[in-house]
Amino acid sequence: MRPLTELETKTFFEKLAKYIGRNITHLIDRGDETYCFRLHRDRVYYVSESVMRKATSVGRDQLISLGICFGKFTKTGKFRMHVTCLEYIAQYAKHKVWIKPNGEMPFLYGNHVVKAHIGRVTEDTPEHQGVIVYSMTDVPLGFGVTARSTSDTRKMEPTAIVVFHQADIGEYLRQEDTLF
């Protein structure tokens, strides 16, 4: 467990900013307690200071996980977000997509979102923008990246992909052992 280097922080924030933009500030600077980002076995954990201090007494090999896992660094140095951070980025998301009940199941099985399943979209979402996927009852289901801007989707066919799947809550079952 160690703090992120400057380069790591930069790649991490760049990815995170795609979803919540400048709202990262609210993660760094919280009112209730000091939270920090810690790297452990290539994974970035968002953890409160008190928990982090306690975790220092656990050996590196013995420490499985701490706090909330936000994602991991790939071996090529890119950052990949995990669904475990959904709770935090859903709070501060800038762009959202709501999908109809009949589209929930395909999405939760790891498929992309097609136009026919879209219930509602945040107005004026640009292309390749990180979006949070909600059910019509406002339950966050996962997140993805838009394939087209909102205006372009109007002209598309109902079977065309609108949001590329990135992570969904189905992963809690599918990737139980590698997720945290």
Binding site: R2, E6, T9, A17, R38, T56, D124
Partner: protein
């Protein structure tokens, strides 16, 4: 007969040798035939008639300089009377930078430790054989090591058929080679030491030669490591040589995990965020959205 009138008229033709009206006396550096006038210039006069004022000013100052020169001790010669100029007092800056100090050679270091001081010897020495003065070394010198002897006694215990002239020549060549090798070594060590000890060299002192040898070794090891990495595969597919140097990896350094106060880390994160998202963050107004909204209203 009264000639005072004529004398007076003659005197009127020349200006006075004594100059008055100088508040601050002039500074002279007679060695350089220079005078420095620190008195302020009369600006009103300068503006009124510039040329006249400047001419009279320089005339007065030149007069004062000549007065000084005429007070110097003189010598008479066939060429006339000459004044002896003193040594210049003004320090002029050097044109070129001071030469870099030369690094110590091994002999110089040894001689310093032993307290050996170089005695000055005459260049010419008396040669008993010819009865002439000859240079101590060099062209037509006396240090030919007997290679010009017309006969050489064969030393006992050597092969009598061996050419003793050749043996002497060989011995001399060997000595020269040895000396050349040492000179080369001194140069290399000196170069490395002055590179490593730039602080002292910049101060204008001789570089520290105390561990010149280990410095040279380190330098060579560095060069070997560089050359090993300079292949097409950056040294990855080269055959390992036994006893070869292993490059020491660069140690990664991380911030401490736990500090007394996490505010520093927080501030660091904030500054990175500023760089990622931009100092002011996203625009407060979504311009495209605003344009669309106004259009639809119309």
């Amino acid at each position: 007969m009264d000639v005072s009138g004529v004398l007076e008229a003659h005197k009127q033709k020349f200006k006075s040798v004594s100059v008055e009206g100088k508040v601050i006396p002039l500074e002279f550096d007679l060695g350089l035939l220079t005078a420095y006038d620190q008195n302020p210039i009369d600006e009103a006069e300068l503006r009124k008639n510039k040329d006249e004022y400047l001419q009279s000013l320089s005339r007065d100052n030149a007069q004062l300089l000549f007065n000084e020169i005429f007070q110097l001790p003189t010598i008479s010669d066939d060429n006339g009377v000459m004044a002896m100029l003193p040594v210049p007092t003004t320090l002029l800056p050097r044109e070129k930078p001071l030469p870099k100090p030369k690094p110590e050679t091994r002999w110089e270091k040894f001689a310093k430790a032993k307290g050996i001081v170089n005695r000055k010897k005459e260049r010419m020495v008396f040669d008993d054989n010819t009865g002439e003065y000859k240079p101590r070394w060099g062209y037509k010198g006396i240090n030919d090591d007997g290679s010009k002897d017309w006969v050489i006694e064969v030393p006992s215990g050597t092969n009598p058929m061996e050419d003793q002239y050749e043996a002497r020549r060989d011995a001399k060549k060997e000595r020269i080679d040895k000396n050349d090798k040492r000179r080369q070594r001194n140069l290399e060590e000196g170069a490395v030491a002055s590179k490593m000890d730039q602080k002292t060299v910049n101060k204008g002192e001789r570089p520290n030669m105390d561990n010149a040898r280990s410095m040279k070794r380190k330098e060579i090891e560095n060069q070997i490591l560089i050359s090993k990495n300079s292949t097409a595969s950056a040294g990855k597919f080269d055959d390992a040589i036994k006893g070869d140097l292993k490059p020491k990896g660069i140690k990664r350094k991380f911030e401490p995990n736990v500090t007394a106060d996490l505010s520093k880390e927080k501030a660091g994160n904030m500054s990175i965020l500023d760089r990622v998202v931009g100092k002011n963050g996203e625009d407060l107004v979504n311009v495209r959205k605003a344009i669309k909204a106004t259009k639809s209203r119309k």
